[in-house]
């Protein structure tokens, strides 16, 4: 949510887990910026096709969590 608040320059309080991208006024170009920021923040790679399915904050968090977990479990133990 912090990523979105920064990217869209809107107050973080206005974003809830059930907020849809549409209700936040996030268009296709904003989505690209958000994807870019998420990939940098969490050091993950988000697939184009999967990204297209995501319509709200909840789904986005779910997707990112999944990718972060996959990354953590596949990296070699310390």
């Amino acid at each position: 949510m912090k990523v979105i608040a920064t990217s869209k320059r809107i107050p973080i309080e206005s974003i809830g887990p059930e907020s849809s991208f549409e209700s936040l006024g996030i268009d296709s170009l904003d989505r690209l910026n958000i994807l870019f920021d998420l990939e940098s923040e969490f050091e993950i790679e988000i697939d184009d096709e999967q990204a297209k399915q995501v319509q709200n904050i909840h789904e986005m968090i779910e997707g990112v969590t999944h990718l972060v977990e996959a990354k953590t479990s596949s990296s070699p133990p310390e």
Partner: protein, 403 residues
């Protein structure tokens, strides 16, 4: 007002290194979309592009000249050489002094800029290669064409992303029609295969990881291409007087701005550009038999372009063939409009329409006759060539067959 005709064409593209090869490949439905070789593909998330393969600058230019020309400028000159020789221009001092050269390019020589800055950013160097500016400036193509043929008339470059060369050809057409120039060499060139540029396209998430499938339900984005095309435009009277054989007449040019969103297209802007091109040409919609579509194979473009064509042509759509040759030569950005203008005039001359290849399943949102996969014989009276740029800037050219 003069009637204006195309008397010569020149092409270098992924599907053919000259006009004849280009046209042969278009009719055969040969797609040049393959794995990208010029850039280390492990660094990018897509694999395919339509590159000009096996290009050896030394076969076309002297070593001392190559140092001063980025790939996009070399392509521009090669296409101009062929167009000038095809038109069989008889140069006089007066013609050299008044001929116009108008080129289009989206990126210009940005590959040279990248390598110029590379040393500064990564290798701890404190100086940049001194030719970085003359190599990378977008007008380098126009300048080198002028130098090559000692053309001293009005010369400039238009950069409107994917519509650059259609705007260039349209401007050249208007200059010759009005008498501002007796002849023009117009078109575009592009060489977008360099790492930074490809990474920027990757981030736009509009490049297909598959291939380019315009108007198909399975379409998944555009595929980059490169190359150049140039056309020689002159008045019909001058062409006939010197015994030239015109390929087709250029009759209309329409342009518009969406004024809406920097990347998302609207149907109204493209539709208005098509209507304006028709009005400029004096043609009725029913006289148009073919449209060489912008047809990038992105989800949005093909749907919006279909809506724009439907709103412009109404019930005539049923008799209208539409194809996207980008499925074969890729999206050559600032060269795209010129390559497609050449495809358009050759379609009129030869009575053959190039197909939309890689087509699988019709998409109800793109319900046009898209000439799927195989070229078609059809003697048509007139055609349009559509180019719609990122930034919502639209350019449409209209051509008419000559007896």
């Amino acid at each position: 007002m003069h009637r204006v005709v195309v008397t010569g064409t020149g092409v270098i593209s992924a599907i053919g290194g000259n006009t004849a090869g280009f046209w042969r490949a278009l009719l055969a439905g040969t797609s040049a979309i393959r794995e990208i070789l010029s850039v280390d593909a492990s660094q990018i998330r897509f694999r395919n592009g339509a590159e000009v393969r096996n290009y050896v600058p030394e076969e076309h230019f002297e070593a001392k000249d190559i140092a001063f020309m980025d790939r996009f400028a070399q392509f521009a000159v090669l296409a101009a050489r062929e167009a000038v020789s095809d038109a069989d221009i008889e140069w006089t001092p007066d013609l050299r002094e008044t001929t116009a050269v108008i080129t289009g390019s989206c990126l210009g020589g940005r590959a040279a800029e990248e390598s110029g800055y590379w040393e500064l950013f990564h290798n701890g160097k404190t100086r940049v290669q001194p030719l970085t500016i003359p190599l990378s400036m977008s007008n380098a193509g126009a300048s080198h064409i002028c130098m090559q043929f000692h053309i001293e008339g009005p010369a400039y470059t238009i950069s409107t992303a994917c519509a650059s060369s259609s705007h260039a050809i349209g401007q050249a057409f208007w200059m010759v029609r009005s008498g501002a120039a007796p002849m023009a060499i117009a078109g575009g060139s592009e060489a977008p295969f360099f790492l930074g540029g490809l990474k920027a396209w990757e981030a736009m998430r509009v490049i297909s990881k598959d291939t380019c499938r315009p108007f198909s339900a399975e379409r998944s984005g555009m595929v980059l291409g490169e190359g150049a095309a140039m056309l020689v435009l002159e008045t019909l009277d001058a062409a006939l007087a010197r015994g030239a054989r015109p390929i087709a007449e250029i009759v209309g040019f329409g342009m518009s701005a969406d004024a809406s969103h920097i990347t998302q297209p609207l149907a109204a802007g493209p539709a208005r550009a098509m209507r304006l091109a028709l009005r400029d040409s004096g043609l009725a919609p029913e006289q148009i038999g073919y449209i060489n579509a912008h047809g990038t194979a992105t989800e949005a473009n093909d749907r919006i372009e279909t809506a724009a064509i439907r709103s412009t042509f109404g019930s005539h759509v049923g008799k209208l063939a539409v194809s996207s040759t980008k499925s074969m030569h890729g999206h050559a950005l600032g060269a795209a409009g010129a390559l497609e203008a050449v495809a358009s005039v050759l379609s009129l001359r030869h009575g053959m329409l190039p197909p939309t290849v890689n087509f699988l399943t019709p998409d109800p949102a793109c319900d046009l006759d898209v000439i799927p996969n195989h070229a078609r014989a059809a003697a048509i009276e007139a055609c349009l060539s559509n180019s719609f740029a990122f930034g919502g800037l639209n350019a449409v050219l209209a051509f008419k067959a000559l007896p």
